[in-house]
């Protein structure tokens, strides 16, 4: 077993033809220690994202469990105020920046999008690899910070003036701000790769009207990332500049503005939660047709809803700032916008219900998780309607009611679909099915524990318990509800342990999956499990919205691509007509080396501004190595005739 495939079994494809063995040789990824860092195939990078993000999920969960222990009793002494502040900040930052986006968007996206598009690799493979290494660097930065008492401690949104130079001494807020830079650049890189793959590398015949909803969602999310991430980069850089070189962006005494931080942050922050939620709906829209055995109802409506959510997500950010004393008229505008954004999500819900009503459901484990998603996210969305109302928000803002709301929408909207997606696609990734009995135990333990913990928090918020307090007085009578909330932690921990046991057991002893264990309709199920490094032996073409279900018996395949150099087909954005062939890159160590130099520059700039001029030449050197032209492989004479005779 080569060291790079620690979690993926070796592709079990037995080459049945010379073409297959040639493709396997052309598209092979190197093995060995340095080979691991040169891998640019999307399946490897996607699995790395998923594994790393899941590890951060576990770490963030441990922090949450300790926090719940601290809050179980009034005036408890499990954690002092300094430790508790670091714990809740790192918990929130980990879950949002190091788990939710990397797992839902980057992990599932990088793995699935090229397969669902019917192409051999993601666009810009080296950029995809580089994005992964930056994400890993950002995560290590934050967690090494926590372990060395430099954990960020001003909340996951790190408001100024508290996080400013006067009130957070040391380097804690700087570690947080640079972690943002790492993860934000990583997300931008992935967004570019995914957007270009979806727009230009789809299988012929996959017009926009026939594109799986998963691809629509990833496309919309990519654009949301491209527009939202720069805002957080700007605001975290302004914070760093204030702290390191005494700029006055947020100093109210000399004309700076503490509220500017909140506007800039939430202009990113709200689209961010849709960047986390839309991949969840993508998974739901992908799985519902498979388990109701029909095309999804209301394809056009769902696509329009997704696009509308993408746009509207940028227009609601002030609902995080209703208590700051902004004028009523502007606040009401954002109430209206926050209520309007409910409508596209409601439309998607109604379409799913109609699909279920007019379909035929067979009991399968991923569907159970979708039921859980339905129940949990609906509660979260409805508590969001309550929060959209300004007067109600004035009472429950910054209390455990809000904590309950966002855990319902984030865990309901991302974690439940994530588990559904994992049980659905792990057979494709590893080649073996997960155990269904253990999966049912996992679901029920998690569902019960989650509701015990977070439903109680609605009551705590209404009874006046604010957020981010490390303890409370026994006179507040919050003790009993906090005990109930902590009891759910035991169930959720057990659930996750069951899942991990299931995963490791099934990887070795699970029943072999075969190509298409669920009889699904999208293109990733048209190849072996796990997919070989060339993805498809014959690149498919598409006839309808569910490629495999709508395929003709004599469905065309793509011919004409070379199999001795890595070539992909570039197609038209709208109709997916073939346009030209493009040689893509093979394994390369330069993304990793560039990530080292960029990380060193970023981390150095926490301590001194000189890191930027000293680090830049090294970054330039590694970029030169990356971008050095490789030339094209020589064409055969027949190809040259074909290429140049069509004008």
């Amino acid at each position: 077993m080569s060291s790079h495939s620690v979690l993926i079994s070796e592709p079990k494809v037995i080459p049945t033809s010379d073409s297959a063995s040639r493709l396997a040789r052309t598209w092979r990824q190197p093995s060995g220690f340095w080979g691991w860092f040169s891998n640019v195939h999307h399946t490897a990078i996607g699995t790395r994202y998923m594994v790393t993000a899941f590890i951060f999920f576990l770490l963030g969960g441990v922090l949450a469990a300790v926090m719940r222990l601290q809050l179980t009793r009034p005036e408890n002494n499990v954690l002092g105020p300094d430790a508790y502040n670091q714990f809740f900040t790192v918990h929130g930052s980990t879950m949002i920046f190091l788990f939710a986006v990397p797992m839902m968007f980057q992990g599932f996206g990088v793995y699935l999008v090229p397969l669902v598009c019917g192409t051999r690799n993601i666009a810009f493979p080296r950029l995809a690899a580089f994005s992964y290494y930056l994400f890993l660097g950002g995560g290590l930065l934050l967690w090494i910070g926590l372990l060395t008492n430099t954990g960020a401690d001003a909340g996951w949104f790190s408001y100024v003036p508290l996080a400013g130079p006067a009130f957070t001494p040391g380097k804690r807020a700087d570690f947080w701000a640079q972690m943002i830079t790492f993860t934000e650049v990583s997300a931008l890189g992935t967004a570019i790769c995914i957007a270009v793959t979806i727009l230009r590398h789809r299988a012929p015949g996959m017009t926009l009207n026939r594109m799986p909803i998963l691809l629509w969602e990833k496309l919309v999310i990519s654009f949301m990332v491209i527009f939202a991430m720069p805002a957080v980069m700007v605001v975290s850089s302004m914070l760093l500049l204030d702290r390191l070189v005494s700029t006055q962006f947020f100093n109210p005494a000399v004309g700076g503005d503490a509220l500017l931080y909140q506007h800039l942050f939430w202009f990113f922050g709200h689209p961010e939660v849709y960047i986390i939620f839309l991949p969840g709906t993508a998974i739901v829209s992908s799985l519902v047709p498979v388990f109701t055995r029909r095309h999804i109802f209301g394809y056009t409506l769902i696509v329009l809803s997704v696009v509308a959510t993408g746009f509207l997500g940028f227009g609601v950010w002030v609902h995080h700032m209703f208590a700051t004393g902004i004028p009523q008229m502007s606040a009401s505008f954002f109430t209206a916008a926050s209520l309007v954004i409910v409508i596209p999500t409601a439309v998607q819900f109604f379409c799913w219900i109609a699909t279920v009503w007019n379909g035929r459901i067979q009991p399968k484990l991923p569907m159970l998780w979708l039921f859980g998603f339905f129940f949990v996210f609906l509660i979260g969305g409805l508590s969001g309607v309550m929060l959209a109302s300004v007067p109600v928000d004035w009472q429950v803002h910054d209390t455990f009611f809000v904590v309950a709301h966002f855990h319902y929408v984030l865990i309901g909207g991302a974690v439940f679909p994530m588990f559904a997606g994992l049980y659905f696609w792990i057979p494709k990734i590893t080649g073996r099915m997960m155990n269904s009995t253990l999966g049912h135990w996992h679901f029920w333990l998690f569902f019960i524990g989650f509701n015990l913990t977070f439903f109680t928090m609605h009551f705590l918020g209404l009874r006046g318990m604010p957020r981010r307090i490390y303890t409370y007085s026994p006179d507040m009578h919050w003790n009993a509800l906090n005990v109930v909330a902590t009891s759910g932690v035991a169930f959720m921990t057990a659930a996750i342990l069951v899942f991990l046991a299931n995963f490791f057991y099934s990887k070795k002893y699970g029943e072999l999956a075969g190509d298409n264990p669920w009889a699904a309709g999208s293109l990733e199920w048209a190849t072996a499990s796990p997919p070989p490094h060339y993805n498809f032996l014959d690149l498919p073409t598409v006839n309808g919205r569910e490629a495999l279900w709508d395929a003709e018996p004599d469905q065309a395949i793509v011919v004409g691509l070379r199999d001795d150099v890595p070539e992909v087909l570039v197609t038209n954005s709208l109709d997916s007509d073939p346009e030209h062939k493009e040689e893509t890159v093979g394994p390369s160590i330069w993304p990793f080396l560039t990530s080292i130099t960029v990380s060193a520059t970023f981390v150095g700039s926490i301590f001194t501004a000189w890191a930027i001029p000293y680090g830049a030449p090294f970054v330039v050197i590694t970029l030169i190595g990356w971008l050095w032209p490789r030339g094209h492989s020589p064409m055969t004479r027949e190809e040259a005739i074909e290429e140049y005779s069509h004008g």
């Binding site: 620690v6 300094d82 090494i144 372990l147 060395t148 008492n149 430099t150 003036p161 400013g164 130079p165 006067a166 009130f167 001494p169 040391g170 380097k171 804690r172 204030d242 702290r243 390191l244 070189v245 005494s246 006055q248 100093n251 109210p252 005494a253 000399v254 301590f607 001194t608």
Partner: protein, 184 residues
């Protein structure tokens, strides 16, 4: 893979054990057991051909960015800025230059604050607790760049026309004789 997991755990434990001195928050000290005041030597004049310098107590607070930032706040709250302004001096001598009349070592500054000095520096003994005085000492030293950059505080949130201690270049302290201070 098991090797990598074990390696990860070992590294994590090592990081926890060697946590950053810069980031420690010292909220309370055990009550002072002894006065450090009388052991601090201010000047070099004493009888005998070979003067033996008495050791000057170090300032453990200088390793903690939190403590130095507390010193920055206390400097304003206890109205040191009333006479020394924000280091530029006014009624009292400037503190951000390299002229140290009574010595730049932490113990010297501590003695200055606690004992007071001729020409107007009041004595704050029993007014400012010793731990807070050490924090102010750390801040005063950072004003002329004597502390490492990552421990020195950044700008404060007021209308301030002085460069933040983080950006001050380190200046060689000069004693009352006009020569660089001798190491004690």
């Amino acid at each position: 893979m098991r090797l990598y997991v074990q390696l990860g755990i070992v590294i994590a434990l090592a990081l926890i054990l060697f946590a950053c001195e810069r980031e420690q928050r010292i909220f309370r000290n055990p009550p002072p057991a002894e006065q450090t005041l009388n052991t601090i030597q201010v000047s070099g004049l004493n009888p005998g051909a070979n003067p033996i310098a008495t050791p000057v107590p170090p300032n453990t607070y200088e390793e903690s960015a939190y403590a130095v930032a507390e010193g920055q706040k206390l400097f304003d709250q206890y109205n040191c800025s009333g006479c020394h302004f924000h280091g530029g001096g006014g009624i009292g001598p400037p503190l951000m230059d390299n002229n140290w009349i009574y010595g730049s070592e932490p113990g010297n500054i501590f003695a200055t604050i606690m004992q007071g000095r001729p020409n107007g520096m009041p004595s704050f003994r029993n007014r400012i607790p010793e731990s807070q005085a050490w924090e102010i000492v750390g801040y005063v030293r950072s004003l002329s760049g004597l502390l490492p950059k990552d421990v020195s505080p950044g700008r404060s949130d007021d209308i301030s026309a002085y460069p933040s201690p983080q950006s001050m270049t380190k200046q060689t302290p000069i004693g009352v004789t006009g020569n660089p201070e001798q190491p004690k």
